[in-house]
Amino acid sequence: MNQTTGNDGSATDTFAHVEDRRASSGIDRDLVNIVAVFALSAVLILCSRFVSPALGSWNQVLTILTLSSFLIVLSFGQGLVILVGGLDLSTPSLVVIGGVLATVYGSDGNAFYVLPIALCVCALIGLVNGAGVVILGIPPFIMTLASSIFVASAALGLTGGTPRGNSPEILAFLMKERWLGIPVVVYFVVLFAIVGWIVQSRTTLGRRLYAIGVNREAARIAGIDVGLTEAIPYAISAACAGFVGMMLVGYSDGATLRMGDSYLLPGIAAVVIGGSSILGGSGSFVGTVGGAILLTTLGTVISAIGLDQGYRTIIEGSIILVALVLLREDLFSGLRLRNRKA
């Protein structure tokens, strides 16, 4: 059979040409989406000059990058969970546990072993989430919500409500110091984004997660250990959330029991705005990073507008909606879906 290809070169070539275009338009779409997210952030920063002349500066960019670091780290884990079609609602509590363990046990110069152990504890909690979802078949929504409540209660019992201790020095260094005029955490975030992107898009693990997210049954038949693999994102997500807790400890020198609350929805929103489907199996971490930066930028610009909170909230929501319409996957993929089996 091999020799028959190319007998009728022209016809097959035309066909191949046709296929080429389709495929390339698919790749373009992902890229366009990511570029669009970052471009929108840039436009927002530039437009913010109209709000205040001090905005749009290099310093503002650094502030945004610093503030978005929490969201970026958090949404990496959340993104992996969403990639396999789950959802992790336990992140706020794990932010707290990470922060509490770091301050309560890690402030006396023994951070070098306390922090890794604390991250492992978080990952273990995440693994319990994963086990509940995979083994017991509990919907991720309920499992992670329940473990969130449990962990928050445990943290309350553990600390009596007031986590004592201060930030370990290493965390203060990460969040507070500057190197060559740029906050250390900005270097960290760039590194994290690259590593995160590699993990999600270039590793065997990432590949398997995509496969499970796209088609769980096919992944099982293809010989992937779906159960174990599906639990891993929950562990990673928990560890990421725990690390965000530590970053917050370094940032403001101490932990409180409610410091994770404001990260739940933005963490999910960053992933979705970054172009991933909430149903799993698509998206890229670079897009998520863009989503996180876009949301943080929006917050920065909004808070500089001199209006009542109500109006500012309305503007914020409207801008999110407009951004979504502009970033609409549909614009690119609507065609693709229909001509797929042409």
């Binding site: 017991l136 919907p139 319409v325 549909d330």
Partner: protein, 334 residues
Amino acid sequence: MSYAASLATERTSRPTLRLKRMLSGGAAVVFVLYLAMYALYAWFEPSALSLYTFTNLMNNSAPLAIAAAGETMVVLARGFDLSVAGVISLTNVFMAIYPIEGPLGALASLAICMAIGAAVGAINGFLVAKLGLQTIAATLGTMIVCQGLSLVFLDAPGGYVAQWVSYELTDTLFGVLPISGLIVLAVALLWAGFSRTNTGLGIYAVGADEQAASLSGISVTATRFAAFVGAGILYGLAGFMLSAQTATGDPNAGESFLLLAFAAVALGGTSLSGGRGGILGSIFGAGVLMLLQKVLFAAGVSSFYTGMFQSVILVAAIVLGNLIGRTFSKGAVR
């Protein structure tokens, strides 16, 4: 085997089939759970069986039950609707700053609340069904806008809900039937009717397989749109009932409903990936969530242990439901 003969053998097994379907549906499991928890509650706290306690429990559960019912419509059509929090806040604020007295006033208020919900639902529907945005993202946007609007209208808790609404709707009918319970019942009945319309069936179809639904002649756009509008109307009703209970306005009133509504839906056996479940389960799911606190209180669980117990019981309930469901059924049933 002839057609008629084979059909005859099939028919004999139908009643058992129906029973299996009922038991495998989430509603039955969560209903049993509700009864069991109520029994436990009554055992710890005999006055749980009094009309007064029951009415209070109904009043307390009704807003969440109705909100969860609305959320179910969107979830069935494979979506997430975060705007539930925004609509409840917005309608609650409306009720508190524009009280309209008397039974007719209440009716007018109700209509306006539902209209607000329907309008937000229509915007969601437009963004999702027409523009193709992801449900969770689009409704996040509308939720934030609604919260902003609530703050614009009422910048701190306050205002007074019409007396008629706050007294009559939390009372009992003929001294035995809690009115809020009757309203929840009415929602359940309306749903029973709606699920027997073509649109209602379409929601299940679209939630299960959008492409197949479209090839079967169902308008996916119109169905999605209807699901969001229907959900919005129920959120409006939930906000109305919440106002009746709290008798005042709070621009953040809806926030706590967000996760609870989803939890109630999931607890009620509706699949969060669409196409399977129903609002009856969600209503009992909401009931279980509200009852859980009561049971734990009555059992003397206090302080931070409450949270631990809540989460463990939540998980145990789902696992139990799965087990029962699995025992009685295999394969996908509506």
